[in-house]
């Protein structure tokens, strides 16, 4: 970062970068909560949603945070205290880790590793441990069932997500997310370079399966068996209240942001604008905004599906993952590989 005529020492850069990641996690999560969970759901259900807190209910999120913070922090008597306290932290931490390799601009990335996408997917599966810890340690039958269901479901949907990404990696030729963004920016679609070459054009099957798998990773309807409110009351989150529940709440929406960011980076061309060159310094400012709008688009689809569909039973859910999604993604990989070699 020597361009700004002042030399920022290395520790300065890493502080800036970690602040950037924190902002990257919390800002989209916050707007997603307001726009989708408060407003879009209400419009879907022909009501206006919160209108009292701030103009058009914009301060509702802070009101909610305030409410959660002043709630009593209960730990059930039979609970395994240490694991009970650790579970939400594990879930939220993994979401921060997923944001590390995601590029928001030429230099605005915490760490551009050669195996960026591999790191993101590996880390996102650690949250399963957090959910299992929460389910087990709450000493509550509903939580235990919720936790076990979550474990089964998240493992089953890890595979389709990874296989969906493999199609993109074959086409981009690199695992590094910056590389994938660059690849999508430079290639042409049959000679016409107007809007670059977002991989959704050829990898639409991959995007569909990725979104379905992301829906399952977020334990959202139609895959919200772990938090099936009509059966398990609140699944693994039943016994949590106050600040810990807030952590789970943030974790859930930050994870939605993370998967949306991954989807838009892999399939919609990431932070790059087609006609602006990649190394333009202004892209460090414009890039995050571009990626933010793409994330909002993807999250609209995620929440749109979440509030429309009923939920699947977990044996149907597993059957759907193993017997439908995985064959489709394998076929997609084969087709991509053949096309890659032939052309």
């Amino acid at each position: 970062m020597t361009t700004l005529a002042v030399v920022i020492p290395y520790w300065g850069q890493s502080i800036l970068r970690s602040l950037g990641v924190a902002a990257a996690v919390l800002l989209p999560a916050g707007t997603a909560v307001y726009v989708y969970l408060f407003k879009m759901v209400s419009f879907m259900q022909s009501r206006l949603g919160p209108m009292e807190a701030g103009p058009y209910g914009s301060m509702q999120l802070f009101a909610e945070v305030g409410k959660f913070l002043q709630k009593e922090d209960l730990i059930p008597r039979g609970a395994d205290r240490r694991i009970f306290k650790l579970a939400p932290i594990v879930v939220v931490a993994t979401v921060f880790l997923v944001y590390v390799p995601i590029p928001f601009g030429p230099f605005a990335v915490f760490g551009s590793y050669d195996t960026g996408i591999f790191l993101a997917l590996a880390v996102s599966s650690i949250s399963v441990l957090g959910i299992l810890m929460a389910g087990w340690s709450s000493a509550n039958k509903y939580s235990l069932m919720g936790g076990l269901r979550a474990a089964g479901q998240l493992l089953a949907y890890e595979l389709p997500m990874v296989l969906a990404v493999v199609g993109v990696v074959i086409q981009a030729g690199t695992l590094n997310l910056q590389g994938i963004v660059a690849a999508q920016h430079s290639e042409k679609i049959f000679g016409w370079g107007g809007i670059g070459y977002p991989y959704v054009v050829t990898q639409f099957v991959g995007l569909a399966v990725f979104l379905i798998a992301a829906q399952a990773e977020l334990t959202q309807t139609p895959f919200d068996m772990p938090i099936a409110e009509s059966e398990l009351v609140a699944g693994y989150m039943t016994e949590y209240s106050g600040f810990r529940f807030l952590l789970f709440f943030i974790g859930e929406f930050a994870a939605a942001g993370a998967f949306a960011a991954l989807a838009s980076t892999l399939f919609l061309g990431g932070w790059a604008l087609p006609w602006v060159s990649l190394s333009n310094h202004w892209m460090n400012v414009v890039g995050p905004l571009v990626l933010f709008t793409k994330m909002m688009l993807v999250m609209f689809v995620i929440f749109w599906v979440r509030f429309t569909y009923p939920r699947l039973r977990e044996d149907q859910l597993q059957r759907f993952a193993w017997k439908v999604l995985i064959p489709i993604t394998l076929a997609n990989i084969v087709v991509t590989a053949v096309v890659k070699v032939v052309f």
Binding site: M40, S42, F43, M44, Q45, S46, R47, W304, T308
Partner: protein, 167 residues
Amino acid sequence: MPKVPGLLKGLGVTFAAIVQTTKPKRLGGGAATVQYPHVKEAPPTRARGVIALREENCTVCMLCARSCPDWCIYIEGHKEKAPPRRAGGKPRTVSALDRFDIDYALCMYCGICVEVCPFDALFWSPEYEYSEPHIADLLHDKSKLGLWMETVPEAPELEVGADKKKK
């Protein structure tokens, strides 16, 4: 496995709902809900909100208290001399009302008292905003019931095929 149209139709329904709710009111859009403290929906004229008492009609016959299923009307009266109807006539003994309480904590708004009152002293009014922080305050005494009298609406005329004579 799933054929697509069913799932897409569902998405179409919810998207149409978003468009309908966000369309401004003058274009026929808007939510079905009303922002209560600022905008209040008027209940229909026959709504049974609260019972109003016209004290002068009441002759303490206690028919309402006797026919109330929940035993929530408490009446006490006394006899007194009233001026004769025609000049020079004998003073009439009339029973006057001392206490007429309705306990809205017990009342189930069935309307038997209003209907059974032979002297038309009790009326329904669609007023509904009289909740109280303390449940004891729900015991409305006769002065409060009198206050409700102005909120009693005119009886709505009946549907076209209705029988004209007032039952």
